[in-house]
């Protein structure tokens, strides 16, 4: 890819307007070489987060009703106040509640 020639200040201001696709690319060349330690950590965190919610949608809020005070499953505890539950765990929690005979309510 060819870099545009150095522009005068006026031309730079004009460049702020929507530009052709070729000029929309970042001015700096993409980084190459191995990831730095900080980049690796950031990437690992993002990938873990993505995997945790992949295909799972938005979290929902649930609470326990009836005679029980709480229900715990898979590290998530739902009490009598609405608690945010990762979407990936909603189905399993609902099933666990049914198995345990616990009533739960999901906030709509």
């Amino acid at each position: 890819m060819t870099e545009p020639a150095p522009a005068a200040p006026a031309a730079k201001a004009a460049a702020a307007a929507p530009a052709p696709q070729q000029q929309a690319a970042p001015a700096a060349a993409p980084a190459t070489g191995p990831l730095s330690e900080a980049e690796q950590r950031t990437l690992s965190g993002l990938m873990a987060r993505q995997q945790a919610v992949a295909g799972a949608g938005e979290p929902v809020r649930m609470k326990v009703t009836g005679s029980h005070a709480s229900l715990s499953y898979g590290g998530v505890t739902i009490g009598t106040e609405f608690t945010t539950v990762p979407a990936s765990m909603v189905a399993a929690l609902t099933e666990a509640a049914a198995d345990a005979g616990v009533e739960i309510t999901q906030e709509s």
Binding site: S44, Q51, Y73
Partner: protein, 202 residues
């Protein structure tokens, strides 16, 4: 005519790098954030984010990395021309010494649910764990102290508890133990060691 003397100067070793001490095992729902770098060694920073400490163990925490390899051989030489990793497992194991329903559930696959009923008129307070084979994935972290005295954290974003659990009820020989086997189920490039090496400059 004498040449230069033959000397023997082995490299020095660093005794400070020989580390020991218990590891601290936390588990959480997958996707739970780690504490900030500044607070990686602060227990309350972990628990406040939703991480659960497994408590006392019989013999500490053991981390086992076990790759199996496949040699690529050619007839023309006796040694392999390459050694390829065919499978690799990473396990975190320990024997839980604190018998709580949470720990029993953790060792038994993390698939059960625990329903708590408060005490009321004619109703004793109780917790009931209902078993299930729907084992739930979790995240885990093992924290130890490094040679600088700071935290060194092994973070595994997704593990599953799957291992034989045998608990002996003895009068006095030993406490009741719950062997815990956590198997990493995420790609290796999501698993990280973080080593704190120096305090922040400001």
């Amino acid at each position: 005519m004498a040449g230069p003397p033959l000397v023997y100067t082995p490299p020095s070793y660093v005794t400070n790098n020989v580390l020991y001490g218990v590891g601290i095992l936390f588990t959480a729902v997958p996707g739970t954030a780690l504490p900030s770098d500044q607070n990686l060694g602060v227990a309350t920073a972990w628990t406040s984010l939703g991480w659960a400490y497994v408590g006392a163990t019989e013999a500490g925490v053991t981390v086992t990395f076990n790759p199996s390899t496949q040699d690529i051989n050619i007839e023309e030489q006796p040694t392999p021309v390459a050694v390829i990793v065919s499978t690799a497992t990473l396990q975190v194991t320990c024997s839980l010494s604190e018998e709580t329903l949470t720990n029993v559930n953790l060792a038994w696959g993390n698939g059960g649910s625990i329903a708590v009923t408060p005490a009321g008129a004619g109703q004793p307070g109780k917790s009931v764990m209902t078993l299930s084979t729907n084992f739930a994935a979790m995240a885990c972290a093992v924290i130890g102290k490094n040679q600088s005295g700071y935290a060194r954290v092994l973070s595994i974003p997704t593990v599953m508890s799957a291992g034989q659990v045998q608990t002996a009820y003895r009068r006095a020989a030993q406490q009741r133990l719950y062997p815990l086997t956590l198997n990493a189920t995420c790609p290796f490039n999501q698993i990280s060691w973080t080593d704190l090496t120096a305090v922040a400059t400001s």
